[in-house]
Symmetry: C2
């Protein structure tokens, strides 16, 4: 297999770094036609300048000798990489405590995720509303997904149900899944699945608790 | 201010990288008396070898020329850095949907966080149990914290209550706070507060959705 840049995939931690660069750029007081050095981005985000330069080449970002990166170009590049200009309709499967918390979570809206429907298998929940979202029977998933032309699902179901729910979503035309269940599932090639890993936050917290400061 | 290593603090993203190295080491089939190169750790986690070497020096990890790092030493170093050998008692404040989800979240136990008490201000919740955790009146926070000799709190309260709850926790002797509220609060110097940032997971997901693979 070729190891050329074009056929390799940016690892998860690289995406994380790009997101950090993007946040830093949104927060600084410099003008868009100013330049920024890889060293400044490195210092601000806790990486090396070499790492920053390597990461930015993934999206074609090339600094100019002695000047660095034009901020406008970097911002445009990162906005495109994260698709920040568009609203995305998503469905939620699993309306337990976590699912309810996610419906209320303001971050989804900030990031332009728009939850348009929710599904559960619990007869006690079907037909009720959580905020203004109607909870539908999970057995209607196929027909509703077809009607709504939605391709993204957020999943907050119990561990044991995850693979079954994922299979059903994929069969119904869902192309990307954000998984909050504390376990993993397999998806066919071409389907994106991202697992939210709270344990890395707990790791960080443990590290602070050890007095590593 | 000195910029020497000993007085600087490892940035959040550095802690994240150390956690990734630690996970990779727990998963590989090599023996503890084998050696591993910074390049292997870099390739496995999506960083540069220079970044890996720099990160490991924070805890005194020094490779041997031509051999790399002894796996046993690295593991011992990282286990100590994250305090992974000890169980930590914690309290939870806020027993809404997210708080309930956190009580059920298996990851806390895996990471040896033991939720020993929960608090809320809602009279309808006080005196009830979530799993086997009794929900107490938040007005009893002071006396209960003193009785339990607990120093760590997990906070899952509404945005608007966060600063008030944090002030109360600090006044009651809590030294470290893991904040799940989607906003920030200030704490006095010497108190650790970590904010769980779900938006970075959403950023990653957006990135995948843009077909950056």
């Amino acid at each position: 297999m070729s190891k050329g840049l074009s056929t390799r995939r940016l690892p998860k931690s690289g995406i994380y770094r790009l997101a950090l660069y993007s946040r830093y750029l949104s927060g600084i007081s410099k003008n868009d036609d100013d330049y920024i050095s890889s060293q400044e981005l490195a210092d601000a985000t806790g990486h090396t300048a070499a790492q920053v330069r390597k990461d930015l080449t993934w999206h074609g970002g090339l600094g100019e000798a002695g000047k660095g990166y034009e901020i406008r170009k970097l911002k445009t590049m990162l906005t495109a990489a994260f698709g920040k200009e568009r609203v995305r309709n998503v469905i939620l499967v699993g309306v337990g405590n976590l699912g309810r918390a996610l419906i209320s979570y303001s971050g989804f809206q900030l990031q332009k995720f728009n939850i348009i429907a929710a599904f559960d298998r619990d007869i006690g929940k079907i037909g009720t509303y959580v905020e203004d979202i109607l909870v539908s029977d999970i057995r209607e998933l196929d027909s509703k997904i077809a009607d709504m032309e939605v391709e993204i699902a957020i999943v907050a179901v119990p561990k044991l149900s995850l693979q079954q729910v994922v299979n059903r979503l994929v069969a119904s035309g869902i192309r990307a899944i954000l998984n909050f269940a504390p376990t993993l599932a397999t998806v066919p090639e071409g389907i994106e699945m991202q697992n939210v890993d709270l344990s890395i936050e707990l790791d960080r917290f443990c590290y602070l608790l050890e007095g590593n400061s």
